[in-house]
């Protein structure tokens, strides 16, 4: 790297120059085209409806808690007001944004990664109190590195073992925390 006095020689910089953006506007455009697809009308409708349902549930439960009166508000008054706000705003959102989500992102095939990641987290929560943190953590690291991160088998094995060992040394040996562990 040091020898490349003239930057034009390196392939990396050639690539950079090929995709060069000169003005902020062009750059913004490139970022825009890089950005994931917008969520779209279905996601918009679904999220609004979920919120309306959420708001209704909130209203019903608040009423059951006893609203009281404005002079002497009881436990249910405030959640009642907030639930109403959620409901009203959700309906406004439903109408105003009906053209279809200008924000949010569409789910892609990569969204599976997030779901798998979430599953490993849940697994960690379930397994940790039963068999300690070491094995579930090792599994989590390995899955995240090998499949979610496309590391090689070798580096995934190496690094995930290393990570768990270091965590063990920090949290169990060093800090003496009471995180469930087998060893």
């Amino acid at each position: 790297m040091q020898k490349h006095k003239d930057k034009q020689d390196t392939p990396e910089t050639d690539e950079i120059i090929a995709t060069e953006a000169l003005t902020p506007e062009e750059l913004a455009e490139i970022w825009e085209s890089d950005a994931p697809a917008k969520a779209g009308p279905v996601a918009h409708l679904a999220s609004s409806l979920v919120l309306v349902a959420f708001s209704l549930a909130g209203v019903i439960m608040s009423v059951n808690l006893d609203l009281g009166t404005p002079q002497t508000p009881k436990a249910g008054m405030w959640p009642f007001i907030v639930s109403i706000i959620i409901g009203v705003m959700a309906v406004v959102q439903l109408i105003v944004g009906r053209g279809g989500g200008r924000d949010g992102e569409r789910f892609t095939k990569y969204s599976w990664f997030a779901l798998i990641g979430f599953a490993t987290l849940i697994l960690l929560v379930i397994l940790m109190p039963v068999i300690g943190f070491e094995v579930p953590s090792l599994l989590l690291c390995f899955v995240w590195m090998r499949w979610l991160g496309a590391e090689t088998w070798r580096s995934a094995t190496l690094y995930s073992t290393l990570v768990v060992v270091i965590f063990y040394l920090i949290f169990i040996v060093g800090l003496g925390t009471s995180i469930p562990h087998v060893i």
Binding site: T23, T69, V96, S111, A114, F118, L140, E151
Partner: protein, 509 residues
């Protein structure tokens, strides 16, 4: 002399070796997360919340503050060298910074950014030193109606100024308010929304909520956004800014400092907006605006100064009024609450050591950052080589195990995961987690002050308008609430035809 005695005592607090150490730790971590794209300062501070349980409040906040303003420095590095903004507040730095780097002036750009950041922060700290006690003394005789109005206004401003969709931000904030009501009602003792779960009786803890929404949520989100190739960073030649460069950039720094300072105080303002506004201002006042985007040094100096000034001054509303101005401040607010300290007008009087300790630590932190920023660029660039695939599980494990250590409770870890999923889903559907966390933090303050006000005013909501301060705050509230609707209506009429044109153009392509 009365005024300066506690200020000077504050330096004593900072000079305590432990505090110095944590200040250093904070700014180094801040700089690292600034360099690494993906995890922002809010997420990092949230993830590190468990660490603050075991240390003194002053020390904890000094460290967290260091992470926050340190990230502003770090974000610059990737903007200039990789055209990849590490932080949202460094996006505009890319425009001229990267071009400067290509012209072989990377060192100049980074140097100016560091000097500007330092200048902005210093101006802002001095402003904070004088303004904060003033604001606090003004707020000392606030009653419940004023607090309720202030909290309402704060939440609304954050929801409407930042983020893409205002309606969605308000919904997120309302959900945060609702989540804050979970647990025993402090007035009547009734259990609300606990569903008979004992772990929920004391309410949802702040730490798991913030760690989930900001930390895990962001990590899960990044999992699917990792297939982006990173180009090799431009080599930094050791070119320091010359006297001429500094002279050319100085006016921009001056404007950036003032702009950032004032925008940072406003709720919902903060670093990102200040940098955008500063860039626009610099372009406007320049004799030859066409230089911008082609390596104008003011285009780096102004925004970088402004974002640091804003990051610093956004502590003012938090420490004097107890109203966090943005998502990151909301987490620091939560961290203070965890420590048993309620930020508000009484803080300066009751806990001068904490207040001035934190404020003065920023001088030290910024000096440390200035010293590190340029010589260590190479080191930070090397950090970028660590693959996200290896970093992600490490951050996840830190979060999960950290959450457990707070109360040795697996339920807390479970909550972190649940809120993590919520944070991910919110992002996918275009809801910002920031307003939710902010509203959650202010929720119980808002509710209790509202109910107290209703008791005092005997249920008469008009009473809010008979008190001058609460009345003006509420009038501002109404204006802020209605303005976007008015504005979008006007804009729509103006741009409707234009938008149609653009759309058809796009379809052709």
């Amino acid at each position: 002399m009365d005024f300066f005695a506690p200020v000077l005592d504050g330096f004593g607090t900072v000079m305590d070796p432990t505090n110095l150490l944590y200040c250093l730790v904070g700014v180094v971590i801040g700089m690292l997360v600034g360099v690494l794209p993906g995890l922002g300062p809010a997420a990092t501070i949230a993830i590190l919340l468990p660490l603050t349980y075991g240390i003194e409040p002053v020390t904890a906040i000094i460290m967290l503050a260091g992470i926050f303003y340190g990230a502003q420095y770090g974000g610059t590095i990737t903007s200039v060298l990789l055209r990849l903004p590490g932080e949202a507040s460094s996006v505009v730095t890319v425009f001229d910074g990267y071009v400067m780097a290509k012209q072989g002036r990377a060192g100049t750009a980074l140097g100016i950014a560091a000097i500007g950041s330092f200048a902005g922060a210093t101006v802002s700290i001095i402003g904070l030193t004088f303004l904060a006690p003033l604001v606090a003394s003004f707020a000392l005789d606030f009653g419940p109606p004023e607090y309720a109005a202030l909290a309402l206004l704060g939440i609304l401003l954050v929801a409407t100024i930042s983020g893409a969709s205002k309606i969605k931000a308000i919904i997120a904030a309302a959900v945060g308010l609702l989540l804050a009501t979970v647990g025993r009602d402090i007035f009547t003792g009734a259990e609300r929304f606990t569903f008979g779960n004992l772990s929920m009786a004391d309410g949802i803890d702040f730490a798991p909520l913030a760690m989930g929404l900001f930390g895990i949520g962001e990590i899960l989100y990044n999992l699917e956004d990792r297939h982006r190739a990173v180009s090799a960073p431009i080599k930094v030649k050791r070119v320091w800014p010359s006297g001429k460069d500094i002279k050319q950039a100085a006016p921009a720094m001056g404007r950036g400092s003032l702009l950032g300072f004032f925008l940072g105080i406003l709720p919902g303002g903060g670093a990102t907006i200040s940098s955008l506004v500063s860039y626009a201002v610099e372009k406007k006042v320049a004799k030859d605006p066409s230089r911008f985007g082609k390596g104008a040094i003011e285009g780096v100096a102004g925004p970088e100064t402004a974002n640091n000034a804003a990051a610093t001054s956004s502590f003012i509303p938090l420490l004097t009024l107890g109203i966090p101005a943005n998502g990151t401040m909301a987490i620091i607010f939560g961290a203070l609450l965890i420590q048993g300290i309620t930020p508000g007008p009484q803080l300066i009087g009751n806990d001068p050591e904490l207040f001035w300790g934190v404020v003065n630590s920023m001088y030290i932190g910024n000096i440390l950052l200035l010293l590190m920023a340029i010589p260590l660029v190479g080191v930070f660039i090397r950090i970028l080589r660590i693959r996200a695939a290896i970093l992600a599980p490490i951050t996840v494990l830190i979060t999960m195990l950290g959450a457990y250590t707070i109360r040795n409770s697996i339920f807390d870890v479970f909550l972190v995961v649940v809120f993590g999923a919520l944070g991910y889903v919110m992002k996918k559907f275009g809801f910002e987690p920031g307003p939710l966390v902010l509203a959650f933090v202010l929720g119980s303050l808002l509710e209790s002050n509202l109910r107290r006000s209703l008791l005092v005013l005997e249920g008469d909501l008009g009473g809010f308008f008979t008190r001058p301060i609460s009345a003006s705050l509420l009038i501002v509230f109404v204006i802020v609430a209605l303005w976007p609707m008015l504005k979008s209506f006007i804009d729509k009429r103006k741009t409707n035809t234009l938008a149609v044109q653009v759309e058809t153009e796009k379809e052709k392509v």
